[in-house]
Symmetry: D2
Subunit: 153 residues, 4 copies
């Protein structure tokens, strides 16, 4: 059974603006596009500060985009009190992304009592996958998240 979000994209955005405004990058380069069951999407308008030599979007910029999308996904499905901490992140850079809008789609693989694992892709305007990542977050244990049956298919 796919977990349902407990916060909307507007609520997550308001919370992050309040406690962690840097998360959106300089000049609010990133915005939360949507939150749905087991999924979150974040947009990036890459500007000059996000580029590396050759005019492609830099690795740190892509990491920041993955991390925000995953953080939005975790917050929206676990709740605002969550002090989620990234424990592991693996990124595969597939194509050098040119400047222009990018979107990161992040999906829950596991919503466990202590660990949340998600899989994410960054796509360009032509729907090419330019990077893929898996990220793991540690969250405070909560009795209402059962140990079993917590994985999303």
């Amino acid at each position: 059974m796919t977990p349902q979000p407990v916060m909307t994209s507007e609520e997550v955005t308001a919370l992050l603006r309040d406690v962690f405004p840097q998360a959106f990058g300089g000049e609010e380069a990133m915005t939360v596009a949507s939150v749905a069951a087991g999924e979150a999407t974040v947009l990036l308008k890459a500007g000059d500060t996000h580029l590396r030599p050759g005019g492609t979007v830099s690795g740190p910029t892509l990491f920041t985009l993955f991390d925000l999308a995953a953080y939005v996904l975790v917050l929206s499905h676990v709740g605002p009190e969550a002090l989620a901490v990234t424990t592991n992140a693996t990124l595969n850079f597939l194509v050098k992304p040119r400047p222009g809008p990018l979107r990161c789609v992040c999906r829950l693989l596991k919503l466990g009592r202590r660990l949340v694992v998600c899989d994410a892709q960054v796509l360009d305007e032509e729907d090419r996958v330019v990077a893929q990542a898996s990220l793991t977050y540690s969250v405070p244990p909560r009795p209402d998240r059962p140990k079993s049956a917590s994985t999303v298919s």
Copy 2:
């Protein structure tokens, strides 16, 4: 554009039986279920030798399943002459899988001239994702695989 396979599942199976029979595990525990555009599926019938204490399928067994599925995907899309070598593998173990049939679905993220990257999931009979992996293979450079436009969305 999704790359098309150049070998069928029967051809890949015959080739592997010929040059690398150990790849299927003891007593042919694994079988190639299908090969399609940008995708390959391998089945595992987990027996006693594949279990760890507690009766769950072991990590090395899951790695072997991921590696075979990815190898089948690479071979079937690059061709039989490919001396593909795994360069990187990242695995997330999500749920302890009980004995019973498992299937690994592996999809191309990038079919580059030198590197092939794929994303894979192992699912149980109830379609739960029990493990996820990304794997990278180094293949001999070939002029007919263009450097750009090689990624699958």
Copy 3:
């Protein structure tokens, strides 16, 4: 402060032979060489069943070696009651290892209350690093492992 082991290599070997004999591979291909503060070393005598086409040691064999070394490290430092479960493993395959003795040296990066993270290398007889891995294990929470000051430098 480097954590001290609570079990010797002989005790870990006896425990694994008892509850998980498959961990040593067919025909006891692997042996626990040593356990020290924050470190464990496991040896592999690679035989024909461990090779892939071209006569090099296969990826699944290397994964099995990494996983055993890390499991020995976790058990020896957390104690025999630990139901440690691999949650994440990332492997980099650097050089195709020819048949012959290999050793895996695994070191604690973090011994936390709930997660244990270790870094490992597989070396050949000439001390070349043929593969590197990082592995994360989930262990049952215990009050005597403090949340802070648990990392090894």
Copy 4:
């Protein structure tokens, strides 16, 4: 045999200032401390823009530090003409780092003809490892880097 650098830390710094000044972070938060055989060290003075809620250094900041250290290592050992591209990065976040100086030590695991793999740690002032990463870079093939004997022990 450990590969020797072909550029000094001053030469790498001058090159990066010229072609990629953003690599050093806002207000030159990062500096190249040293380049040695098979190794590079980069320092970070974390300021307010590098923190996340709770006052710890953010994940994107740590990624940026790892990526710069690895890029310095690759450039200094492959040469200034290298168009090195990150293909894979795996990060383990071990301890939440408080504000204050951090250093990233990055070591070559493999200097191949086409792929460079390195292992890196971020340490705080008390020499605790706060994060570990492995990173892979694709470099243009060069005939003078032999296919074998390219790994560092």
